[in-house]
């Protein structure tokens, strides 16, 4: 596998609500198929091991990352990288909506969902603890990042991981279908996602593997339509809408290279300007020193740090 070049599959499954054992079996099938089709990495939807509308089941389906239920996935990850969604229980008995990358026989990366939608039909903040980090990671697939569903509706998350030098974003999702307007083969929410996926891939010249689920939970349907985009924003694989499927494509870093030569926007990004303006907007005290530099208080330590203006 040349540096940064790999084949990713998105496994568009319909998990059984609250039944980890049944969902593990569903994962085995998809992992077998992904391997059979030459995937180096398979991405499952958000909460793929548990189902989405968990409510009071959150604590009963939760797993510690050393739970024996996960041993088989760890073992299989010696042959193929596996990104699965689960309820992660911490030592302090907090419960996170997490996506876990199993690779080379172990837990390689964990992303805890930061933006937990709690409005309209969503209830997540009631049940889950909020993640506190948005970071890129290094892996045998190169440098990438994981953002879960609503995380990616906040442009700041994609901006951060792009500046953190991610070349690809893996986005597990449990996106409910809603809004049926005329003249389209998919619902309004599906079209919104397709627009932002393309926007992020294009704007930040990152590859993007978006893994959505299908099936129904209490009448709420999930639209599927998982997709893989290259760093030029081109869609290079698409799963069916509303039905289980597996989509697969090869990620080639030379696409990002070409894009970033043509338009080196990330290189030119002015971090200090962004930080200073964010601090101003947030209302934190700033002051100009004698040389006209802005002295900024660091958020935690409280020590002044000089930021060039």
């Amino acid at each position: 596998m040349p540096e940064g070049r790999f084949t990713v599959a998105v496994a568009q499954i319909s998990p059984r609500l609250g039944d980890v054992e049944a969902n593990l079996a569903l994962h085995q099938q998809a992992i077998r198929e992904a391997r059979g089709r030459g995937a180096d990495l398979v991405v499952f939807p958000e909460l793929s091991l548990t189902g989405y509308m968990l409510r009071d089941m959150v604590s009963t389906v939760a797993l510690r990352l050393d739970a024996p239920e996960l041993n088989h996935l760890k073992k299989q990850s010696q042959k193929i990288g596996i990104l699965a969604g689960l309820v992660e229980e911490t030592r302090a008995f907090r419960f996170h909506n997490s996506a876990v990358l199993f690779d080379r026989g172990e837990v390689a990366v964990v992303h805890r969902k930061v933006y937990l939608p709690t409005y309209g039909m969503f209830d997540e903040q009631r049940y889950f603890a909020r993640g506190a980090e948005v970071r890129a990671f290094d892996s045998r697939f190169g440098r990438g990042a994981i953002l879960i569903c609503e995380d990616l509706w906040h442009p700041s998350t994609a901006y951060l991981v792009a500046l953190d030098e991610a070349l690809f974003i893996l986005c597990p999702s449990a996106s409910p279908l809603r809004g049926v307007s005329e003249g389209h083969e998919q619902d309004d929410n599906a079209r919104y996602w397709e627009m932002i996926n393309r926007f992020y891939a294009t704007t930040f010249s990152v590859s993007l593997a978006y893994a959505n689920r299908v099936g129904f939970e209490d009448g709420i349907g999930f639209w599927g339509g998982s997709e893989i985009l290259d760093a030029s924003g081109e869609r290079i694989a698409k799963a069916r809408y509303y039905e289980p499927d597996l989509a697969i494509a090869e990620i080639r870093p030379k696409v990002a290279r070409r894009r970033r030569i043509a338009a080196p926007l990330l290189r030119d990004e002015d971090l200090d300007l962004t930080i200073n303006e964010l601090l101003r907007i947030r209302g934190r005290a700033t002051r100009l020193d004698a040389k006209g530099e802005v002295a900024v208080l660091k958020p935690v330590a409280g020590r002044a740090r000089r930021v060039k203006r």
Binding site: M57, V180, F216, G219, G221
Partner: protein, 271 residues
């Protein structure tokens, strides 16, 4: 204008029926066929989702039901090729009202709807099937239905579709034209129609409800959109006044964990 993408609605609702029926380990549904457009559409969608042989259509006429209704229900059965049966509810309804002869139309109509419900649930047990719902969003919002009667079901594909959307989708899936184009009626007595009962047409009220509910228009915005204030008030009152019909019975909380309050699980728990 209420959007109506019939191809996509059909795809979603067929998938919904298949998924929600099969995940509880069943293959079949029973549906009461009144000869009206709602139950006909439900039956068409279910036949597409599960196969015609897995949909049992039950006609449940009362003495005064219009012969046209029975005929329209038979047309749906014939068009789909679903198994069907007819259970005349006259005897059981009349036997009851012999003891309460002064009951008016509303009580009699509700009683008939509830008798039909008990028959559907009995046959769902006999046939290992779920009861398929037929209430549309307009009726549910207005409360124009009988609680524990025609509002009762296990899965309802039409509950988020306004009546005008039901008409459009029924046309797209092949419900017989005679069923779609006749005036909607609860068929409790000769010549009754929903729209004369309600005092407005479905097309008028659907446009209002769509803006009020789906688009969250305020009263002032609805007036600006051309709706008369008395009509807006009347419909708002109907929606608020029928909220009880759309909820489980209220439970007095005494324990630490009360059903539906702090004992919260999806209905598809473990499915």
């Amino acid at each position: 204008m209420i959007p109506c993408n019939t191809a996509l609605l059909r795809r979603i609702l067929v998938a919904f029926i298949r998924d929600e029926v099969r995940k509880v380990g069943l293959e079949r549904v029973v549906v009461g066929l009144s000869g009206g457009v709602d139950s006909s559409l439900s039956a068409f969608l279910a036949a597409e989702a599960l196969g015609a042989e897995n949909v049992l259509g039950i006609r449940m006429p009362y003495l005064t039901s219009s012969p046209d209704s029975l005929q329209d229900a038979s047309a749906v059965v014939a068009a789909l090729g679903v198994p069907s049966l007819t259970v005349d509810i006259t005897k059981q309804v009349d036997a009851y009202f012999e003891s309460f002869p002064d009951a008016g139309d509303r009580r009699r109509g509700n009683k008939m709807a509830r008798e039909r419900m008990t028959i559907l649930y009995d046959h769902s047990a006999r046939w290992s099937a779920l009861v398929l719902g037929t209430s549309n969003k307009t009726e549910l919002l207005l409360g124009y239905g009988t609680l524990h009667g025609d509002m009762a079901s296990a899965v309802n594909p039409l509950g988020d579709l306004y009546k005008t959307q039901v008409w459009a989708l029924a046309g797209a899936v092949g419900v017989p034209a005679s069923v779609i184009h006749k005036k909607p009626s609860a068929d409790l007595f000769s010549g009754q129609t929903d729209e004369s009962d309600l005092g407005f047409t479905y097309r008028e009220v659907d446009e209002l409800l769509y803006l009020m509910v789906d688009e969250r228009y305020s009263t002032a915005e609805l007036e600006a959109a051309g709706f008369a204030l008395p009509f807006i008030r009347r419909v708002s009152d109907m929606v608020r006044g029928s909220q009880f019909k759309r909820r489980l019975p209220i439970i007095a909380k005494v324990s630490q964990r009360t059903i539906d309050r702090d004992f919260r699980y999806a209905r598809d728990w473990g499915r």
